[in-house]
């Protein structure tokens, strides 16, 4: 621990950023290179580099305020709206720098979907919630939209529960259903990446279980990054895990290994519940 923080050259202590790959030849979907994030004078992310495999589930864990949500929101540029936000380094999606001025944020977000901590359906009908992403793209073909809505709701394992109530207010659904609706809404625009910011923290255990099953199912087609403060959840659902602490990436690698045999003491301490 001492040697880490007092190392004069932070780059030298750079954490191993390539997760142990499976035998299958997956490529890197998202890559972060020497990323620093500042809010005004406060540095929220300190020189993080990390690569995320395609069609895998990567979990970000760490105590609250460690920067894991901030880091997640870099991948669809949701931090852009925050006053005083400033980033250095590079983040790329399919090898393309997403902070390049030529990138249209709106286009990026159609590829990188997001699900939030608290279910946040629009105060509209279930159908219109899912259709919204398509409508703002200017799609008018109602048959196409309906097909996509149904397909997305099925993917989110919500369709069977609400198939007769598509015109009902989304806010009338239960919390767990609302969150699955939000997932369906994100899927409807056919993203290839799904960012999930503590998606089950506002839900009861049963609803959480359903979301976890769903996430596991979605892995076949999507690259998923999930922020969680729930260690068991990270252990259950993710392939790789990154442990962040005070804006730094402490350790990143295969979930099994992080949970059973972490390299760093701090990771060990956090996972065994000694702090955080």
């Amino acid at each position: 621990m001492e040697s880490e923080t007092q190392n004069p050259n932070p780059k030298a202590s750079k954490v191993e950023t390539k997760p142990k790959m499976d035998s299958k030849d997956q490529s890197f979907k998202l890559q972060a290179n020497n990323v620093d994030v500042f809010y005004g004078d406060f540095q929220a992310i300190k020189n993080i580099s990390l690569d995320i495999l395609e069609r895998s589930i990567t979990a970000f864990i760490g105590p609250s305020g460690c920067g894991k949500s901030t880091f997640l929101r870099l991948f669809n540029r949701m931090n852009d709206y925050i006053d005083g936000f400033h980033m250095e380094g590079e983040i790329s999606l399919d090898k393309q720098d997403i902070y390049d001025p030529s990138i249209k944020v709106e286009e990026l977000r159609k590829t990188v979907g997001m699900v939030f901590q608290k279910p946040n359906p629009f105060p509209k009908s279930i159908y219109e919630n899912v259709a919204y992403g398509l409508r703002i793209q200017g799609i008018k073909d109602e048959d196409f939209i309906e097909k996509r809505v149904v397909e997305s709701l099925k993917q989110a394992t919500l369709f069977s529960e609400i198939k007769d109530d598509l015109d009902k207010q989304a806010l009338a659904l239960s919390g767990g259903q609302q969150q699955r609706l939000c997932i369906a809404r994100a899927l409807a625009v056919k993203p290839s990446v799904l960012l999930m910011d503590e998606p089950t923290s506002a839900l009861d255990p049963i609803s959480s279980g359903k979301i976890e099953d769903l996430v596991h199912e979605l892995k076949k087609n999507y690259t998923i990054v999930i922020v969680t403060h729930n260690m068991q959840q990270a252990g259950r659902v993710s392939d790789n895990t990154a442990f962040l602490y005070m804006g730094e990436l402490i350790e990143y690698g295969d979930t099994q290994k992080i949970f059973t045999n972490p390299e760093k003491d701090r990771t060990q301490n956090y996972i065994t519940g000694r702090f955080g």
């Binding site: 949701m78 990026l108 939030f116 629009f122 105060p123 919204y132 703002i136 939000c182 809404r185 625009v189």
Partner: protein, 285 residues
Amino acid sequence: MNKVNTSRFKDKAFRRLGMVVTVSCLLILAVFVGFVLYMGLDRLSWEFLMSLPSRFADQSGIYTAWIGSIWVLVLTTLISFPLGVGAGIYLEEYGKKNKLATFLEINIANLAGVPSIIYGLLGLEVFVRIMQMGNSILAGALTLALLILPIIIVSTRESLRAVPSSIRDASNALGASKWQTIWNQVLPASFGGILTGVILALSRAVGETAPLIVVGALAYVPFAPRGPLDEFTVLPIQIFNWVSRPQHEFVINAAAAIIVLLLITFVMNGIAVYLRNRWQSKMKW
């Protein structure tokens, strides 16, 4: 009496006092309104509403006045609604937290406190003289629009602020542009609140007298206006004119016209309160 008893007594006495004072205020209002009804209700008739003004009190009506008021109200709405809501959206959704934003905020707070008659002077110089609109409905409506603009902006901002940011996040994360998010999500969710503020502001405009006198609305207009550049009068000015007459018959006319003006004001406020309650119960996420 010992100390504890004294303070208990004070406590009870103040409860009584507070009750009495509050209810007295309402009673005074009731007496005022009752007096106007007693004095003017008999004078109120279809004929009174549809007659042109006259030298003779018993032949005089408020036709030109309420037609003028409606003209002014419609034009004021058309001008102030887009301007005020637009400015509110800009300040709340686009504005950054910098010196300029602080300046704009102080400026609007200041404008809200400028006496209405000063707006009259502004209108007289800018719209009547410089833009040469004369003593027209348009000049009056523009003046009133500027007068109620701060009210509309402030209430628009409050309504927008009441929309949870999670809704904006959800829309942005789906690839919506800033304006798409505002237009499709934020405005529909806040519209009830915005509308409430606009109606309250307009109900104030309907009762305004002084700025319109200054921009040259006339006390005596023989014909109802036909277009926005016509000369005009409005209900409050008609009332002011009649109140100032020594003859008792004209004062009765004033009372009858006041009943009409109060009715318009109360109905507008009632609608606003109803909309606000409905919107607030809908806004529970």
